[in-house]
Amino acid sequence: MSVELDVFVGNTTIMDEEVYQFWLDGYTVNDAVKVRMEGGVLEECEASAEVLHSDTMDQYRTFQMCERLLHSPAKLANQLLFQIPPHRQAMLIERYYAFDGVFVREVLGKKLSKGTKKDLDDVSAKTGVTLKSCRRQFDNFKRVFKVVEELKGPLVENIRQHFLLSDQLARNYAAIVFFANNRFETGKKKLHYLTFQDFAFCAGQLISYWTVGAVGDNLSPQSPDVYNMVEDMDVDLEKQFLQDLKELKILITDKDLLDQHKSLVCTALRGKTKVFNEMETNFKNLSRGLVNIAVKLTNTKDVRDFFIDLVEKFIEPCRSDKWTAGDMRLFLTHYTNSAHILDTFKHQVLWDRYMGVIKSCILKMYHD
């Protein structure tokens, strides 16, 4: 005797969140059954393995049928095929678009192309995330990227509205889209210690302060009157801003300005930090490093290397001198503020816009 057909359909679609997670994680039905069995559902309900298998199959089928709808989540609310209560719909969507930190770290900044998709089996082997799950996550990135690409207006808000995601998840997707669009290099060995959350934070900073959408109101970039609905307003760095950054060069090319800047910072920091001597000796190098990054950002290639430059030119020297995070904060604060006191330095607004982001990025990235 064998079960040929076994179907259970409820008027209100019945879904088990645990099984949904197994499905998302790319478990086969048999694996899922095994895990559920170990989880002790059986004793609880006196059910047999067949019962569990049949239930798992039903759920998997339901999810497969739902998947098409999840690709454009707005459809889930007004489709007629499944009757799903709204809070469940939200759960389905949120979980479907959730991703693994390890996985996203691997593809962050890569082109979301067919070629990358082909390499997913390597990524899967490396991260331990099943290939099926990798594909789903990758396709999600690509889908969000494609939709957002053609839309005007603020990136996070667009993602939130189109995919009905939570604010946090929408911000993460914005970071992924931003990285994929600007093709930031994140795979170099020196950057391996950085997590996705580090990058997502930095992306948030860049989007908030350096993009077209950020123009006009640096302090509260989300205020609605700024939404001048330019295409790609949050995805591309503002050209003019990058161009202007060249002006900062004076801070390192003008000998007097550099010395003056150094002495201001040193006065402020004296006695407040244990690494004062190292800081004093290294000041010119560090300052050159930061300003040079700013000056070169007009080149696409250098934009890509933004993070690696930050690490090489600034973070690594400091780390080898054993600066603490506190030292770093102190230095960057005074380094930024001292520039205002320099009488011949005229680019205060530009400097603040640049250093605000650099400071928060470095502080986020400065860990082991």
């Binding site: 047999s48 019962v51 039903d58 089928r61 095929l81 009757q83």
Partner: protein
């Protein structure tokens, strides 16, 4: 020319991509009614077209309005080749023909294609203007209301119950016409869907005519069936109970006590204060037949039976299962009749139809059984068929009963509350019993005689006093038979039938005793025929009626009481049985008051038998009565009965099940509910085709299905499966490889309904605590007692926060309204304020890419979900928010894995209604706001 039908096509959405090049679709719509067709403009290059068409107007006879569906076809315009069909929507106009039902049909309908399933949705607006037509010779019966509900619908009052109406329409099945060889599967499916839609429209119209003739204006308990007789044709038949209803709307029920006791609720529609002039049983079981070929013929009237308005009806049939209090005086017992027929091609459907004669024969037989039981009426009556190739088993069953003549004549009873035991008292003469039975004085009133057990097909009367809780009791049986043809086959089957009935009955008796109960309600015995086996499945809800004596125990007796081992074995078995009985008493909370004096006042010898009356006939009215009684007081389980014993010991705490509307003994219901359909098909290998082996397998299947349901619904515990409806079928045997294994399928299709209630003592605290649990998303607590935290608690807080946000971020388009579906005639905790009309839909789905669609399970899963979606959409378009008395009448599944093909037919029916919650009925208008609906919809799900 008494009607104008108007339709407007508003918009479409989520259409499929029909043009690969542009990834878009150039859609337009054809609206067809009868022979008239209108078209909308092409809306180019869009998957969400906005046609916003003019009003398409059809001027039609009301006869056509009743028969024909409005047919809406969505097509993709193609400049060079033929336009591709995207899909169709059939809209039944009938609900618009009653003045009190729906006024318009308006909403989103799934666009359905028999090959691809649902492909997008279309927004349609339909209205009907009816002109008054006083022509007494008319062929239409507009205005007659139909209800699937087998009780007097809750917001109506029956002024009069006329009695039985039946009708039957025959046609050739398009699937078997010669043209089917040259047309596409899609065309063939659509022809079939359309034909059946036409036939059921015609059937309904003709039944309506009969009702009008009787002076009625409604049909309750309308039951329509299809017999797919294959080569020999297609039969659509229907039975119902005619009655003129008066709408009472909300003025009757005192709302206070209805909320937590549905059993009380049923009384309220007929309150004693406003006496309903109930005068049923006019002689209206008039039977006529008509059989048409080309769907356009006048019915042949009055072929047989009593003339339309004979003065006294001898044997009224009632398809109702639930009655106003005081209506039923006595209940005799189950009466049933079966007959085996050989189908032959309906050569000339215009000729007086043989099928009508067959049913007539069976009804006569039922009548005579009822008479033998001293009863003048049959209630809870139903008819069914099982077809395998050319053999057809026709079955009918009901419950013989005495109805209150005073109630019928005067329509008024002064003593408002009828005695709670009255219906148990025997209707027949004590000294002239139709069969041996053991009588005692009623345990409640001590005045009248009652039998020791009572089997019925009706629901438990509201006034009945019950001890403890009820439970689902099933008897399952397989019998092999030789493969044969024609006459020989039919004879073999009809020879087997009595034995099967006997065996099923014995099983039911034993199981009843094992649970120490003494009555069965809602008994439904299904016998299905396959090529080399017969299946019998009897389901009923067992209860302990306080008025009846306590059942005796079960005594085990060996066949050969010789050696010691064997005796020991028997002794242990006996002990096991006794333990089980004790355990069950505990489980079902059956603690009857110890009656000290055994009032066995019956002079009848010490024998016991229940009232299952049946007979088998083969083309003749031969009445076969079996004396099923045993010589002892206690029932008897033979050694081989160990099979029987092992059966039912699966018990899941917190789960109850029954196949009646309400679970006896449980009154505190919550409103969370979940309707579901489960289908299983098993393949049997040739090896275990012995009676024993098959029985075991069959029993396991049913048990497994139940277990599976319990597991699925574990998150709703404590809960109750109500109206569990098992259907079995043995599809035709098919030979897969040449000379290799023969395969047989058994399909168990349960259309089951879940309802939540509070278990245990029913204290108020309990209820509170539980309802908190139910609305899990509003309580972040982790105090669910029955589940492990990992199972249920963890996701809750998250779910909550998400739901808050999601309501904000949902796109502005109105979310889909929740439509509840239930096989019950009511929704717990709510009040039905309006009946919008009958839903009766027939769908065919076929696939030629079975593997790609996830195999047979994937295919059927999708199809059932689609059927639900279409039912919901139609109800929502009528302005309703629920379907009650929903049932899946037919689910025929055929596959051919070699060709990667499968086909499935589903027929569903129910009543579209508007309900309001008890608590808010004063405040809110009929239609609930979507917020309310969705919040309640969330309750019952996990």
């Amino acid at each position: 020319m008494p009607g104008k039908l108007k339709a407007k096509i508003v918009a479409g959405r989520h259409l499929p991509v029909m043009d690969r090049a542009s990834d878009l679709t150039d859609a337009f719509v054809e609206v067809k009614f009868g022979n008239t067709t209108f078209k909308t403009d092409v809306f180019p290059k869009s998957l969400n077209p906005q046609w916003n068409s003019e009003w398409f107007k059809f001027e039609v006879d009301d006869e056509d309005l009743q028969d024909e569906p409005l047919q809406i076809t969505v097509l993709d315009h193609d400049t060079y080749s033929a336009n591709d069909a995207i899909g169709k929507v059939y809209i039944d106009i009938d609900p618009l023909l009653c003045s009190e039902a729906a006024t318009r049909i308006c909403g989103w309908f799934p666009i359905y294609d028999t090959i691809h399933g649902i492909r997008g949705e279309i927004n349609v607006l339909v209205k009907v203007d009816l002109f008054n037509d006083l022509n007494s010779f008319r062929q239409s019966s507009c205005g007659v209301k139909f209800f699937c509900t087998t009780s007097i619908p809750r917001c109506y009052r029956a002024a009069l119950v006329h009695g039985f109406v039946e009708e039957l329409v025959v046609n050739e099945d398009p699937e078997y016409q010669w043209i089917d060889r040259i047309r596409t599967p899609r065309a063939s499916n659509e022809a079939r869907q359309r034909l059946i839609s036409l036939m059921s429209g015609e059937l309904q119209r003709k039944i309506g005519l009969k009702v009008l003739e009787m002076g009625g204006n409604a049909v309750v308990g309308y039951l329509q069936c299809f017999d797919l007789e294959g080569e020999s044709g297609l039969v659509v038949r229907a039975i119902g109970t005619a009655s003129p209803n008066t709408n009472t709307h909300s003025n009757t029920a005192p709302a206070s006590n209805a909320c937590n006791s549905p059993s009380k609720d049923s009384k309220e529609t007929l309150p004693s204060s406003s006496p309903p002039p109930f005068s049923p049983s006019k002689p209206c079981s008039r039977q006529s037949s008509s059989s048409d070929t080309d769907l356009s013929l006048t019915p042949k009237m009055g072929k047989t039976s009593p003339p339309p308005h004979a003065p006294h009806p001898e044997f009224p049939f009632f398809t109702l299962t639930c009655f106003p209090p005081g209506f039923l005086v006595h209940v005799g017992g189950v009466v049933s009749a079966r007959s085996v027929k050989l189908l032959d091609r309906i050569h000339n459907p215009d000729e007086p139809e043989t099928r009508d004669a067959w049913w007539e024969e069976i009804r006569q037989e039922i009548k005579s059984h009822a008479k033998a039981l001293g009863c003048h009426a049959v209630v809870g009556y139903s008819e069914s068929t099982s077809i395998c190739e050319e053999v057809c088993i026709l079955s009918a069953s009901g419950t013989a009963a005495m109805l209150n003549p005073r109630f019928m004549r005067e329509g008024c009873l002064d003593d408002a509350s009828p005695p709670s035991c009255g219906f148990c008292h025997i209707p027949y003469d004590e000294f002239n019993m139709p069969f041996p039975a053991q009588l005692t004085y009623c345990y409640r009133c001590r005045r009248q005689k009652v039998p020791d057990v009572l089997f019925t097909t009706i629901d438990l009367p509201a006034e009945a006093a019950v001890t403890g809780k009820g439970c689902l009791i099933q008897a399952r049986l397989c019998r092999t038979k030789k493969k044969a043809q024609g006459e020989v086959n039919a004879t073999a089957i009809s020879n087997l039938l009595p034995f099967m009935e006997y065996e099923l009955h014995t099983q039911l008796m034993n199981k009843l005793k094992l649970r120490s109960m003494n009555a069965l309600f809602g008994l439904r015995i299904q016998i299905s025929v396959g090529e080399n086996m017969l299946l019998g499945l009897a389901s009923a809800t067992g209860v302990y009626l306080s008025a009846l004596p306590a059942p005796g125990g079960i005594q085990v007796a060996g066949k050969t009481p010789s050696d010691l081992n064997y005796d020991q074995h028997i002794a242990t078995m006996q002990k096991r049985i006794n333990d089980t009985i004790t355990k069950n008493k505990e489980l079902y909370n059956i603690h009857p008051p110890e009656s000290t004096e055994e009032l066995v006042g019956s002079p009848i010898p010490d024998r016991q038998r229940s009232r299952l009356f049946r007979s088998t006939s083969e083309s003749s009215d031969e009445l076969l009565e079996l004396d099923l009684s045993h010589g002892k007081k206690d029932a008897f389980v033979l050694e081989r009965g160990s099979v029987t014993m092992s059966i039912n010991m699966f018990v899941s705490s917190g789960f109850y099940s029954c196949n009646t509307e309400v679970m006896p003994g449980i009154y505190n219901w919550t409103s969370g509910l979940q309707m579901f359909t489960s289908v299983r098909v098993y393949r049997l290998s040739n090896a275990n085709l012995t009676n024993q082996g098959l029985n075991k397998i069959f029993t396991e299947l049913c048990e497994n299905l139940l277990k599976s349901l319990y597991f699925k619904l574990r998150s709703m515990i404590p809960c109750c499966l109500c109206h569990v409806n098992f259907t079995v079928a043995v599809p035709e045997e098919e030979l897969i490889q040449m000379g290799a294994v023969r395969l047989n399928c058994v399909c168990v299709c349960g259309c089951v309904f879940v309802c939540l209630f509070v278990s245990g003592s029913g204290e108020n605290e309990d209820q509170l605590q539980f309802s908190m649990e139910l609305c899990a998303d509003s309580t972040p607590s982790n105090n669910q007692p029955t589940s492990k935290p990992s199972e249920r608690c963890s996701p809750l807080p998250e779910g909550r926060s998400r739901s808050l946000r999601s309501t904000r971020s949902m796109p502005c388009g109105a979310p889909v309204a929740v439509v509840k579906m239930t096989p019950l005639s009511f929704l717990p905790g709510t009040r039905i304020v309006k009946y919008l009309g009958i839903i009766n839909m027939f769908f065919i789905r076929e696939t030629t890419s079975l593997r790609e669609e996830g195999g047979v399970s994937g295919f059927l899963h999708c199809f059932i979900a689609e059927v639900f979606a279409m039912v919901r959409a139609h109800v929502a378009a009528l302005g309703g928010n629920a379907v009650v008395s929903y049932s899946m009448k037919e689910c025929v599944f055929m596959e051919n894995p070699n060709k990667n093909q499968a086909q499935c037919l589903i027929n569903v029916s129910g009543d579209a209604v508007i309900f309001v919650r008890e608590s808010e009925q004063e405040a809110t208008p009929p239609l609930m706001s979507s917020g309310q609906i969705s919040s309640t919809g969330a309750d019952g799900t996990t």
